[in-house]
């Protein structure tokens, strides 16, 4: 049941990541939506309420609190991993590094990686991990927190994350990269282990960043 749901959402995501949509800035809002009826001047109108990532609060590699305010007015890419992961995580991180390098000088884009093993991945462990990846903590937050909050926010991002002793490393998790806009709406889900899908993510991100005012206009006086 959960599986089919995830699959259909991912399918939507991929459809939304075609070249055409990147050009037009027309990435769909993913997730469940509700139709709400209300009356305006005696007329029935229907509003669509989109799935939105709820408020959150975690701690990053600098022991700083990272909340929904940290990502306010930002576009961000998020994923779920753990530092001792014997399987796909290093590949995901090498792909996330591509996104990092590509948007290094774009302050409106942030990266947010959640550990799903908060027991092992303390602030100090995450600090060491980020240092070894040689990335800056203003741009790329590695966060930990209450286990339940991490697992429940994963569901909000439509990402699978489960504890399972049978799995290598003790956790099942998907390698998804989730693209979230300034209103905390999910705009795309990409396989973070697949360079071609990450290419698409890199092409989709600018569609969510409003074009900067032309220098000419700004200089006008």
């Amino acid at each position: 049941m959960l599986c089919t749901l995830l699959l259909s959402i991912s399918a939507l995501g991929w459809q939304g990541c075609s070249d055409k949509s990147a050009e037009t800035g027309d990435l769909p809002i993913l997730g469940e939506r509700q139709l709400v009826q209300r009356e305006v001047d005696g007329q029935q109108v229907t509003d669509t309420v989109y799935h939105r990532i709820p408020d959150f609060a975690f701690i990053n590699q600098d022991s700083q609190v990272v909340t929904s305010l940290t990502v306010q007015d930002k576009v961000y890419v998020t994923d779920f991993f753990f530092t001792t992961c014997p399987t796909i995580c290093p590949k995901m991180k090498s792909q996330m590094l591509r996104v990092y390098e590509e948007f290094k000088d774009e302050p409106r884009l942030m990266l947010l990686s959640h550990t799903i093993d908060p027991k092992h991945d303390t602030v100090a462990v995450l600090r060491d991990y980020a240092d070894r990846l040689q990335v800056s903590s203003d741009k790329w937050h590695f966060v930990t927190g209450e286990k339940d909050s991490i697992y429940s926010i994963a569901m909000q991002y439509m990402v699978t994350a489960l504890e399972d002793e049978e799995e290598p490393g003790g956790f099942v998790h998907s390698g998804a990269f989730v693209l979230v806009d300034q209103n905390r709406h999910v705009r795309g889900i990409y396989d973070g282990t697949d360079p071609a899908q990450v290419d698409r993510l890199i092409r989709d991100i600018p569609a969510l960043l409003p074009k900067k005012k032309k220098k000419k206009d700004a200089d006008k006086n």
Binding site: P86, K91, K93, Y129, R132
Partner: protein
């Protein structure tokens, strides 16, 4: 009649040669296949590793300086600080206890002769000898 009997060993030789090369290419493929399955997640498809987290296999001095430890590293994993090409790594590599000596030989030969590496190959006897040194780790 006579010609035929003369040709027979030749045909046999060719057949043997064919199976032999077949066998070699299969082994080569097995090394690559196992590498992709078990190692590439961390060390990457091109053996480049991941910044200061995961050491490279491409051009790694470790493969030469610690040649005698390589089979045991694969079979039993590796923890603690190590230095590869002058950089420190300390992340921990998992054990692959289910791989047999033939598979380990094939993986090592793939690593030693790819990613720009041209280190001497391993024989299965050499791998066997290395594994004998760390066999006590299996009984834990």
């Amino acid at each position: 009649m006579r010609i035929k009997t003369k040709l027979l060993p030749l045909a046999g030789g060719i057949a043997a040669l064919l199976t032999l090369t077949q066998c070699f290419t299969d082994k080569q493929n097995e090394g690559e296949r196992l590498y992709t399955q078990y190692c590439a997640n961390c060390h990457m498809d091109d053996g480049s590793g991941l910044r200061n987290l995961i050491p490279p296999l491409a051009g790694a001095d470790y493969l030469v300086n610690h040649r005698d430890d390589l089979a045991c590293i694969i079979q039993h994993g590796q923890t603690g600080n190590i230095v590869v090409n002058g950089k420190n790594y300390n992340q921990g590599m998992p054990a692959f206890e289910h791989l047999n000596k033939g598979q380990i030989t094939n993986i090592l030969n793939y690593v030693q002769t790819n990613f720009g590496n041209s280190n001497p190959r391993f024989s299965i006897q050499e791998v066997e000898k290395q594994l004998f040194k760390c066999r006590h780790l299996l009984e834990q």
